[in-house]
């Protein structure tokens, strides 16, 4: 399961690579749709500040 570690900067880079449209930003948080997520890890790898992890 992909989780956000708490230091997300809301830049949206992860959203641009998500093939499942499983990520969405609010004004101050990243929402992850775990049902849509395929755990392809593209978001984990692309994050400029390693704010995502697969647990």
């Amino acid at each position: 399961m992909i989780i956000e570690l708490g230091h997300c900067d809301q830049c949206g880079t992860c959203i641009s690579v998500c093939p499942a449209d499983a990520l969405m930003l609010t004004e101050n948080a990243l929402l992850i749709d775990h049902e849509a997520c395929t755990e392809c890890l593209l978001c984990v790898n692309i994050c400029p500040i390693a704010a995502l992890e697969n647990k």
Binding site: D9, C11, E27, V44, N45, P48, E53
Partner: protein, 395 residues
């Protein structure tokens, strides 16, 4: 639940969305711009450099938008040597993008547009026939619905609105550069220059930039190619290493992160009653990552054409086809060439950069143009010319 009807709804208040709002409002349309953030223009997820002439093509510069004036371009090689190009070959600005966007938003509002902050568009609304009729937004926990004849997707790198309209906007990792920037103080640079650090030692598949601003401040950032990015090799780790080595005296005032699309423009930039502008349409020069003026230009075009389409809905299809054509002519075709050249440039190894740079350093600085660099690259790597010809002829 409250419902409201508009002529044109714009999702996103970056330069693309703001100029779309300004033009559409000036054309007398009822315009609503929705922005997720709490403050216009902030945070600045951008190096803020623009070419003087390029910018002047679209907007008249205001003094308070200028962070610094630039007349020099310096490439720093992997071996640390600085290659200065001919003075005035590059003439540009480092913007104060926050002030710029704040002012353009005020102009759009003066022209009659309604701007809402902290309005997070989450989905498109469709009627029973599947036609897009509006957007659904979350505002402080409450769901709101807004209806319009035309929707302009200006939601930046995320590009979820176009995706909801059925356009494939997801980028492959190699088509995006994860970036981190530190705005620092205490940096005294000898020149009013844009410094570009090239080579994998600084930023694999990208480059590091040092762009001066007033009062010994600078935007220092870097982007790496997405295919080299992972949890243990983030853009941030490269930036930390870069700052430690090259600017140990710098105090960081602000960090920002961001993703820069380095793909070609989206093939589809308008569909049904939806138009796409700026980064959302991947309208970024894939060689250097510049996209401010493309966003402004596409925003202005989209705003004007959307206004015309509201007056003559039966001509919408033709007008939107014209939008796609105009974008392709203005920079879409160029981006295709630049995309192919990027592939070649990023194959250069650090030793290649060093050797080419050393040869350019033998030429008098007043004679160092982009063409001279190009000639030396070709001399060093003859196969480069073949790739470039291929790129431009589309073979």
């Amino acid at each position: 639940m409250m419902e409201q009807t508009w002529d044109i709804i714009i999702v996103g208040g970056g330069p693309g969305g703001l100029f779309a709002a300004l033009e559409a409002a000036r054309a007398g349309k009822k315009v609503l711009l929705l922005e997720r953030k709490r403050e216009m223009g902030v945070p600045v997820r951008c190096g803020e450099a623009v070419g003087k002439e390029d910018f002047a093509n679209y907007v008249e510069m205001e003094p308070r938008w200028i962070g610094a004036e630039i007349n020099t371009f310096i490439m720093v090689l992997p071996n640390g040597k600085e290659v200065m190009l001919k003075r005035d070959l590059y003439s540009g600005y480092v913007l104060n993008r926050d002030l710029f966007e704040y002012d353009v938003a005020a102009r759009a509002a003066d022209a009659g547009a309604t701007i809402k902050m902290r309005s997070n568009v989450v989905s498109l609304i469709r009627d029973a026939g599947g036609n897009i009729t509006g957007v659904r937004a979350m505002e402080l926990g409450r769901e709101r619905e807004y209806y319009a004849s035309v929707i302009i997707a200006a939601d930046g790198v995320e590009s979820r609105i176009a995706r909801q309209a059925g356009i494939a906007t997801a980028l492959k990792p190699q088509d995006i550069e994860p970036c981190v920037q530190a705005t620092v103080s205490g940096v005294s640079l000898p020149e009013q220059a844009l410094y570009l650090y090239v080579g994998t030692c600084y930023a694999p598949g990208g480059y590091a930039w040092v762009f001066p601003k007033a009062n010994n401040c600078a935007n220092i950032g870097l982007g790496i190619n997405g295919k080299y990015s992972d949890k243990n090799n983030t853009a941030r780790l490269y930036l930390d290493r870069f700052l430690e080595k090259h600017f140990p005296q710098a105090s960081v005032q602000r960090y920002t992160t961001g993703g820069v699309p380095v793909s070609m423009n989206l093939k589809t930039l308008a569909k049904d009653n939806l138009m796409i502008v700026g980064d959302a349409g991947r309208m970024v020069n894939p060689l250097n990552g510049g996209g401010i003026t493309h966003a402004i230009s596409s925003g202005k075009k989209a705003g004007k054409l959307a206004a015309t389409a509201c007056d003559s809905p039966n001509k919408m299809k033709d007008l939107f086809a014209r939008y796609e054509k105009e974008i392709a002519r203005e920079f879409g075709k160029n981006h295709e060439h630049q995309y192919r050249i990027k592939d070649v440039v990023y194959q250069l190894k650090d030793e290649d950069y060093d050797r080419i740079g050393d040869e350019i350093l033998k030429i008098d600085v007043s004679k160092r143009s982009f063409l001279t660099i190009f000639k030396h690259v070709v001399k060093h790597k003859p196969e480069f010319i073949i790739d470039v010809v291929k790129a431009y002829s589309g073979i």
